[in-house]
């Protein structure tokens, strides 16, 4: 082996990886690069990936980033030749710097560099001037062109872009500015939101004023030309039209200069966008009209028609379209705004025995905070004094207020409905569950499902293609069209340029994703990736973990059968043994004796026998508590209790036999009760045409009983936690699109193996990051909710894309004059301008329709009514 590569490795730092499922995904992402994926060392704790020698770290970082875990290079081996050939990757920069050390300026201090560089999570940028899918492609291209950027993404719905890797923020801004757009770094996302809203309001007003000015001129010219004068140049009106042409130019500059400057900047960078089409269309119409007005003799008499009104009206209509679009766009981020509004501005903090109202920013971890009835909780914490009921519906979707007493966790943004409490702040500022939810929702809203990539691919070649079609149409009209051929050629070319609308294509996917993710958050389902939103709609098999998912996850004593003696004595003996045990079943027995105020018996010599039970000494005899097989092996006769044990098993319980010496005393049934709403949620999945399956470590009989009472179609019993992923893979191989629902910790590999993983949380624990979708409340209803919302969102995206494609594929040929030979129809450029504006407004409006979507869950509305009464 080459000695230079034997001990050298490449290390990457990664973000967002929390579990072995993530590690597996990272290895899968690297499979095309490595012969043995096991050679890739993924360290979840240290958040690093160590690559085997000879792997291009930049390529690996890109692949890992694309898999959803932003990666950057920590250490690159000198032998990474493939990357060095281009001398563009960050790893090569360090090498090159070494070589050129004498000439290169002193490097920045590490800390300063890291401050201004894109971190793992990436630099967030606010983008201005982007209006269409082509703009998105240009911005992403500009960001990716900056050395060190491993991944770049722009969201047109909220005009933000993110770049991850090792690039300098200023270099990113420069790249975007030189591509013809504006950019600024988002330091604080919250203030950036407010600033953007203010800017949007200002821009809305400006657009309306511009629209009014240009439309007034356009309509005025049309009325004057058609009513009082003539749109055709003759000796009598030539000077007037030249003056009107100059006036039109002035108005075009005043109200539409942004189209021209943006188009020019894009052109310089070999890009074209919607503004290019508007600028070319209106510019062509104006230049043609000016040529007609100044040199009428140069054209045949029939072609001496001017189109100044078209230039002014098109700019007016597109300004109007953009204003309407801006207003509708504002509504799509309502879900996040509603979450942002939950944040309290001040907190009543008790310091040194004094209560004082402090701004939320000054609250520290460990502060004691008093909250009165009707007030919002300012930070996360643990209740120290008092009892109350807290309305958590805004975070979890759970409609009923939850009781909170000493030692219970409470979350920022929830509402204290009854008593006054004092609680200790445990998480403040951006660490609160609410802040995490907002971050998660925003991130998902900006992500793009694969369905949108087709639109991206098309839009990147869309505008130049439209330009070609416009020129081709002009030539066809010139050569084959009727007189006046020159005028017809100009009208056809202008109309084609104006009617084509890449903005509708660009907005189709992100607008619906934004509303869909927000809608899901309202129902307590946090969707982490846009891709999950798309896949969730296709699910036809839901695999449920049993404990904590279908059942409450807290076993309880359901039956007690005694051979002789009393029940309390049997429980006292069992509790005497179980008080030493950590087993979940032990908690159930301890809970039972606590409730019934039974004193546990004295036990000595406690012993826990794995897979059998527990044993100890009581009054000189051996006391045993465990399964049937163990007691039979010990030579005890358990047949008198067989019927009782069968009854326990039939009801999904676990029978625990109790024996003292050689006498069997009784059997205790412990079962994990099914959550009250599990059956209804499973029924909803059936109604949606989805098969439901359960995997559990329990014995066959228990699994069967749970399935029967919860209405589950199929089950796999006695499956170890680590084998759950195999069940998921088996079902995927059988052709199912599988959703796995589990607790996110034990089930992490199965969640990662499924097409969509649902981590079922309780309360507001959003630390569960192993699944694509996190259900904030413990109810299974979140699964059908998320699936229904996904289906509605994907349907909405399809409608939008279909609308945008149909609009463009019908509009462009009609504008080119395809209907002229049949019916003599040649579209006016003004109609084209109006149609173009309407197409993007329609897309945004259709996406907004999703805000009214309601899932089929019925329990919520009735519960809300009860609560209101």
């Amino acid at each position: 082996m080459d000695s230079t590569t034997a001990n050298t490795e490449n290390r990457l730092s990664i973000a967002g990886a929390t579990c072995q499922g993530c590690a597996r995904k990272i290895r899968v992402a690297l499979e095309p690069l490595v012969t043995d994926s096991a050679a890739v060392d993924v360290n979840i704790e240290q958040k690093t990936v160590t690559l085997p020698a000879g792997i291009d770290p930049a390529d690996a970082a890109r692949r890992i980033t694309e898999a959803g875990y932003p990666a950057e290079i920590l250490h690159a081996e000198p032998a990474a030749k493939s990357c060095c050939a281009s001398k563009t990757t960050p790893s090569c920069r360090s090498e090159k710097d070494d070589a050129d050390e004498a000439e290169a300026p002193a490097p920045e201090p590490a800390s300063a560099a890291s401050d201004s560089n894109a971190s793992n999570d990436g630099i967030q940028l606010a983008i201005t001037g982007a209006t269409c899918a082509s703009c998105v492609s240009s911005v992403e291209k500009a960001l990716k062109s900056v050395s060190g950027v491993t991944h770049a993404h722009m969201n047109l719905a909220d005009n933000t872009a993110s770049a991850s890797g090792q690039a300098d923020a200023q270099a990113l801004i420069n790249a975007i500015e030189s591509a013809g757009y504006g950019a600024s770094v988002i330091e604080d996302p919250d203030t950036a939101d407010e600033r953007r809203q203010q800017q949007d309001r200002k821009r809305y007003r400006t657009l309306l004023v511009k629209m009014a000015v240009s439309l007034s001129l356009g309509v005025g010219l049309m009325i004057w030309g058609m009513g009082f004068g003539s749109m055709t140049i003759d000796a009598g009106n030539q000077t007037t039209w030249i003056n009107l042409g100059i006036l039109t130019l002035g108005v075009m500059i005043a109200t539409g200069s942004h189209f021209f400057t943006s188009a020019w900047k894009a052109f310089l960078h070999h890009n074209a966008n919607m503004d290019t089409l508007v600028a070319l269309g209106t510019g062509t119409a104006w230049i043609y009209s000016m040529v007609v007005a100044v040199f009428p003799e140069a054209l045949p008499e029939m072609a001496r028609h001017v189109y100044f009104e078209a230039s002014a009206m098109i700019i007016g209509l597109i300004n109007l379209g953009q204003a309407l679009e801006l207003r509708a766009k504002g509504k799509t981020s309502e879900a996040v705004r509603r979450l942002l509004d939950l944040r309290a501005k001040t907190a009543r903090v008790i310091r040194d025995g004094q209560e004082q109202d402090l701004p939320i920013e000054q609250v520290r971890k460990g502060d004691q905070i008093r909250v009165r009835p009707g007030e919002q909780l300012p930070v996360d914490g643990v209740v120290r004094e008092g009892n109350t009921r807290v309305d958590e519906s805004m975070l979890t979707g759970e409609p009923m207020p939850v009781s909170k007493g000493e030692g219970d966790d409470v979350s920022a943004g929830t509402l204290n409905t009854r008593g006054s409490i004092v609680y200790e702040a445990t998480r403040v500022g951006s660490d609160t569950a609410l802040a995490q939810i907002i971050r998660l929702v925003k991130k998902a809203q900006g992500s793009k499902p694969s369905i949108g990539r087709l639109a991206d691919k098309i839009s990147s070649v869309f505008v130049p293609s439209v330009m070609l079609i416009a020129i081709a149409a002009a030539l066809v009209w010139y050569n084959l069209g009727p007189d006046p051929a020159v005028a017809h050629m100009m009208v056809a070319a202008t109309t084609v340029l104006i009617i084509a609308c890449p903005c509708a294509l660009g907005l189709a996917t992100p607008m619906s994703v934004m509303v869909g993710v927000g809608k899901a958050a309202e129902y307590g389902a946090l969707i982490r990736q846009g891709e999950a939103l798309q896949t969730a709609g296709k699910i036809n098999l839901v695999i449920l973990d049993k404990t904590g998912t279908i059942t409450a996850g807290k076993p309880a004593v359901t039956q007690v059968h005694v051979v002789d003696g009393d029940e309390s004595h049997l429980l006292a003996l069992a509790a005497g043994l179980e008080q030493h045990s950590e087993h979940p079943l032990a908690y159930a027995i301890m809970e039972k004796v606590r409730q019934d105020t039974i004193q546990p018996a004295d036990i000595s010599g406690f012993d826990s026998l794995n897979g059998k039970g527990v044993a100890g000494q009581h009054n000189g005899d051996t006391l045993r508590l465990g399964n049937r097989r163990w007691l039979v092996d010990e030579g005890l006769d358990v047949t008198p209790l067989d019927q009782a044990a069968q009854s326990i098993t039939d009801n999904a319980g676990t029978p625990l036999f109790v024996a003292l010496g050689t006498r069997v005393l009784g059997v205790i049934g412990v079962a994990d009760a099914i959550k009250p709403d599990s059956r209804a949620a499973i029924e909803r999945l059936h109604q949606a045409g989805i098969k439901v399956m359960m995997v559990t470590g329990d014995v066959d009989a228990t699994a069967k009983a749970i399935c029967a009472s919860a209405g589950i179609d199929d089950y796999r019993a006695e499956v170890l936690p680590e084998n759950k992923a195999d069940v998921v893979n088996d079902m995927r191989k059988k052709g199912y699109t599988v959703a796995m629902v589990g607790d996110g910790i034990n089930d992490a590999p199965a969640l990662a193996a499924a097409d969509v993983g649902f981590a079922i949380g309780t309360g507001t624990d959003v630390a569960i990051e192993s699944a694509a979708i996190t259900l904030m409340r413990g109810s299974l209803h979140g699964v059908p909710d998320a699936i229904e919302i996904s289906r509605a969102t994907v349907k909405n995206i399809h409608q939008n894309l279909f609308g945008a494609f149909i609009y463009n594929s019908l509009g462009i040929p009609i504008a080119a004059g395809l209907l002229y030979p049949l019916w003599g129809i040649l579209l006016s450029p003004i109609i084209a301008g109006a149609a173009m504006s309407m197409s993007s407004v329609t897309v945004v409006t259709n996406a907004n329709r999703l805000r009214l979507f309601k899932t089929s869950r019925k329990i919520d509305s009735s519960a809300k009514q009860e609560q209101n009464q």
């Binding site: 890109r62 563009t88 291209k141 500009a142 990716k144 062109s145 790249a175 030189s178 591509a179 052109f267 960078h269 070999h270 890009n271 074209a272 070649v461 130049p464 330009m467 070609l468 020129i471 081709a472 002009a474 030539l475 010139y478 050569n479």
Partner: protein, 32 residues
């Protein structure tokens, strides 16, 4: 003659669009 010039200009414009937006070397490096 005019017809020839108009057609030639049109074709030249189409060629220019293809060259400028697809074939010309760009000043910004793009990674695919």
């Amino acid at each position: 003659m005019t017809s020839f010039l108009v057609n030639l200009t049109g074709l030249a414009l189409m060629a220019a669009v293809v060259w400028w937006f697809w074939l010309a070397p760009t000043d910004t490096k793009t990674k695919s």
